[in-house]
C-alpha cells in the first residue's frame, strides 16, 4: 500500500473514532433519556476548557483529561437537579432551556477568553511512521480509548445491575420507583454520566483542534445527525449512526472537495432517515 492510501484509511478511522467519542455522552442523554440536550456541545467545550486550564495552571494536559469528566459530570449533576428534571414531561421546553444554557456557557467562555483561540498541546505529540505515512500517535490513542470506552459502557449497561437499573428507570420509571429504587437520582446520575463522557471527549479532542468558544457548538450538528440516523431508545444506535455518517464523509472527502462531501453526507442522512425512521436497529413503523 502506498503511504497516501495508508493515510486515507487512517483518516477515515480517525474521523470516525472522534465522532463516536463525541457521541458517547449524547447516546445516553439524547438516545436513552430522550432529552433533546442542546447544550451537549457546551459539555464538550467545558471539557476542553478543563484541559486548557489544567495545562495553564498545573502544566499537564493529561491531568485535565482525567479531571474533565469529573468536573463536567458534576456540572451535569447540578444542572439535572436544578433545571433538566423539570422538563422531562415537556420536551419542547427542554430544547429551549438547554439551548439557553448552552448559549450562556458559550458566551461566558467567549468573554473570558483573551484570544480568538488557544492552543492545548497533545500529551503525546510525536508520530509514528507506518509504511511511509507519518501518523500522529494522539489520534491512535483516541481510536483505542474510544473503542475501549464504548465497549465498557455497553457492557455496563447490558451486563451489570447498575446498567439494568438505568435501563429499567428509563423504560418504566413507575415500576422502578415502586420497586424501591430512587428514580430521581437514577435520572440525575445518568444525565451526569452523559455530561462526563462529553467533557472527557472535549478534553481528548482539543489538542487536535484549538480551544475556541464554538468548539462544542460546531460539533453539535454532526452529533445530532448521528443520533437521529442511529435512532433513539438504545445506546448502540447513536454509536452506529456516528460511524454511518463519519465513514462516507471521510471516504468521500478524499476524492471530492470537502464542501461537496459534507452536502452529500447530509443528503445520505436524510434519505436514510426516510427509509429507516426508527434508526439502524429498529424497523420503521
Amino acid at each position: 500500500m502506498s503511504p497516501s492510501v495508508i493515510r486515507g484509511i487512517f483518516d477515515v478511522f480517525s474521523l470516525t473514532s472522534i465522532l463516536v467519542l463525541l457521541v458517547l455522552g449524547m447516546a445516553i442523554i439524547v438516545g436513552m433519556m430522550k432529552v433533546f440536550n442542546m447544550c451537549q456541545g457546551e459539555f464538550v467545550l467545558l471539557g476542553a476548557g478543563t484541559a486548557y486550564l489544567s495545562y495553564q495552571y498545573f502544566g499537564s494536559v493529561l491531568l485535565g483529561i482525567l479531571l474533565a469528566p469529573v468536573v463536567v459530570g458534576f456540572f451535569g449533576l447540578v444542572l439535572e437537579r436544578t433545571v433538566i428534571h423539570r422538563f422531562y414531561a415537556n420536551p419542547q421546553g427542554a430544547l429551549l432551556a438547554t439551548f439557553a444554557i448552552g448559549l450562556v456557557i458559550r458566551e461566558t467562555v467567549q468573554t473570558r477568553m483573551a484570544a480568538q483561540s488557544s492552543l492545548v498541546p497533545a500529551p503525546i505529540s510525536s508520530s509514528v511512521n507506518i509504511g511511509g505515512a507519518v501518523l500522529p500517535i494522539w489520534r491512535i490513542v483516541i481510536m483505542i480509548v474510544t473503542l475501549v470506552l464504548a465497549l465498557t459502557i455497553a457492557l455496563v449497561l447490558l451486563k451489570t445491575s447498575v446498567g439494568l437499573k438505568i435501563r429499567a428507570t428509563l423504560d418504566n420509571p413507575e415500576l422502578v420507583a415502586s420497586s424501591g429504587i430512587s428514580t430521581k437520582w437514577m435520572y440525575a446520575w445518568t444525565y451526569a454520566l452523559g455530561a462526563a463522557l462529553a467533557g472527557f471527549a472535549g478534553a481528548m479532542i482539543v489538542p487536535l483542534q484549538t480551544l475556541y468558544p464554538n468548539l462544542g457548538y460546531e460539533n453539535l450538528i454532526p452529533m445530532f445527525i448521528a443520533v437521529m440516523v442511529g435512532g433513539l431508545g438504545q445506546f448502540a444506535g447513536p454509536i452506529a449512526g456516528a460511524a454511518l455518517i463519519a465513514i462516507p464523509g471521510g471516504v468521500l472527502s478524499q476524492f471530492i472537495n470537502p464542501v461537496s462531501s459534507q452536502i452529500l453526507v447530509l443528503c445520505f442522512a436524510i434519505v436514510f432517515m426516510r427509509f429507516r425512521p426508527m434508526g439502524i436497529f429498529q424497523r420503521g413503523r
Partner: protein, 403 residues
C-alpha cells in the same frame, strides 16, 4: 361651503406637514455637514468588534485609535478642534455592526468612521455610512480587494501588495509546484485566485487547490491531500480557529515544503505554536523593522496602553488604524473643512512621510495606498524575522467591473 373650508384646512395641514418633513429631513442631514463651531470637539466614529470572535482585534483597534487621537490632540487637534473617540461595538456580526454604524452616523453625526475587522462588516456597513450616510468611511484592514465605493478609503494592504511579493520570493527560492488551501469564503478565494495567477505567470504550476468549510472542525483530510501532493510550497489561507490545527497537522505529518500565507505575524503566530517556525508572508509592519519612527511610536503605545501590549500587530490592523486617522487629518487640513465632499476630494492624494511601518500615500484615482511592505519569516516562539524591506509597493487598482 363647509366642505371647501374643510378642503382648505386639509391643504393647510398637508402644507405644514410637507414643510415639517422637509425641515426635519434637512435637520437630519445638516449637522454632519455643517461647519462645527470653533473649538468644539469633533467626533471620530470608531467601529470595531469589542465582543464576539474578533474581540481580541477590537481590543487592539480601540487602543490604537485612542493612542492616535490622544497624540493628535496633544499637538493641537485638527483645524483647532479636539478629537473625541465615539466607540461602537460591531459584535463580530454584520447585523450588530450595521446598527452600530447607523448610530454613529445618524444619531451621533460623527465626522468620519474608521473601522471594521472582517470584510463582511465592511460590506454590511458601507451603505449605511458612505452611500446613504454621506459620511467618510475609512476601511483599515488587509483585505481581498475590489472596494471602490464612493466615500470609502482603503488603508490596509491589498492582494497585489501581499501576494505578489510572497509568490515572487517563493519562485526565486526555486519553488516550482504550489498547493493552495483555504477556508471556503470570499477572502481566501480571492487571495488564492491572485496566488494562482502569479504562480502561473511566473512559470510555476499548481498541483492542488482545496477549500474547507468554515465549520469543519477537523481538516485531517486536507492535511493528507497536502502531504500526498508534496508540493514545493503550500500557500494557505485557512482562517482561525482552523489555522493552527491545519498547519500543525501538515508539519507533524512530515511535509517538508515552505508554507506561506497572508495571515502570519506576531499576532497570529502564538496561536499556531512552535509549528509556526519558517512560515513566510508579507505585511505592512513587523515588530523588528528597521524604522526609528515606528520603533519609538510602538514603544510609546505599549507604555500608554499596557492593556494592549503586544497587540500592535499587522494582522490586527494596528498600523492601518494609526495611519487612517492621520491620513484623514491630513485631508481635512488640506480641504480646510470637515465637509465630507471636500475631505473626500482631498483624500485622493494625501500622504504621510512618516507613519508606523514607513511612508504611505494615496495614489490619485485608486482609493488605495502606496504602502511600505516587508517580507517576514515566523519563528517558533511567535516572533518574526524581517527577511527584506520591500519598499513602497504600488496601490491596488479596482477592476472597472466592480461596484
Amino acid at each position: 361651503m363647509n366642505k371647501t373650508i374643510r378642503r382648505k384646512n386639509l391643504l393647510k395641514v398637508s402644507g405644514i406637514a410637507v414643510g415639517v418633513l422637509a425641515l426635519s429631513s434637512t435637520l437630519l442631514v445638516a449637522p454632519s455637514q455643517a461647519a462645527p463651531a470653533t473649538g468644539s470637539p469633533i467626533k471620530v466614529g470608531v467601529l470595531t468588534d469589542m465582543t464576539g470572535a474578533f474581540a481580541i482585534v477590537g481590543k487592539s483597534n480601540k487602543a490604537v485609535a485612542q493612542f492616535t487621537i490622544d497624540e493628535i490632540n496633544k499637538s493641537g487637534g485638527v483645524l483647532g478642534h479636539k478629537l473625541v473617540m465615539d466607540l461602537a461595538d460591531g459584535g463580530s456580526a454584520p447585523d450588530v455592526a450595521t446598527q452600530a454604524a447607523s448610530r454613529l452616523v445618524n444619531q451621533d453625526h460623527v465626522s468620519m468612521v474608521v473601522g471594521g475587522v472582517a470584510s463582511f462588516t465592511r460590506v454590511a456597513v458601507r451603505g449605511v455610512i458612505a452611500t446613504r450616510g454621506k459620511t467618510l468611511y475609512v476601511w483599515p484592514a488587509s483585505y481581498e480587494g475590489n472596494e471602490c465605493t464612493n466615500n470609502v478609503w482603503n488603508t490596509g494592504s491589498a492582494p497585489n501588495q501581499q501576494v505578489d511579493p510572497t509568490v515572487k520570493y517563493l519562485l526565486a527560492q526555486g519553488k516550482k509546484t504550489f498547493f493552495l488551501a483555504g477556508s471556503d469564503y470570499l477572502y481566501p478565494r480571492n487571495i488564492l485566485a491572485r496566488v494562482r495567477q502569479d504562480v502561473l505567470a511566473g512559470g510555476g504550476s499548481i498541483v492542488g487547490e482545496e477549500y474547507v468549510p468554515l465549520d469543519m472542525t477537523d481538516a485531517s483530510n486536507l492535511t493528507s491531500k497536502v502531504v500526498a501532493a508534496n508540493a514545493d510550497a503550500l500557500f494557505e489561507v485557512v482562517v482561525l480557529p482552523g489555522t493552527a490545527p491545519f498547519i500543525k497537522g501538515v508539519v507533524d505529518a512530515g511535509y517538508k515544503g515552505t508554507i506561506a500565507g497572508t495571515l502570519f505575524d506576531e499576532g497570529i503566530n502564538p496561536l499556531i505554536g512552535t509549528e509556526a517556525q519558517g512560515l513566510i508572508g508579507v505585511q505592512d509592519y513587523y515588530g523588528p523593522i528597521k524604522d526609528a519612527f515606528s520603533q519609538s511610536e510602538v514603544a510609546k503605545f505599549n507604555a500608554q496602553h499596557p492593556e494592549a501590549k503586544g497587540l500592535f500587530t499587522s494582522t490586527f490592523n494596528a498600523p492601518a488604524w494609526y495611519r487612517s486617522i492621520y491620513l484623514w487629518k491630513a485631508a481635512v487640513e488640506k480641504a480646510g473643512s470637515f465637509d465630507t465632499a471636500k475631505v473626500n476630494k482631498a483624500m485622493d492624494s494625501v500622504s504621510l512621510s512618516k507613519s508606523i511601518g514607513g511612508p504611505v500615500g494615496f495614489a490619485p484615482g485608486t482609493k488605495h495606498l502606496k504602502l511600505s511592505m516587508y517580507l517576514g519569516q515566523s519563528n517558533g516562539d511567535g516572533s518574526e524575522t524581517v527577511l527584506k524591506s520591500l519598499g513602497q509597493i504600488s496601490p491596488y487598482q479596482c477592476s472597472a467591473a466592480t461596484n
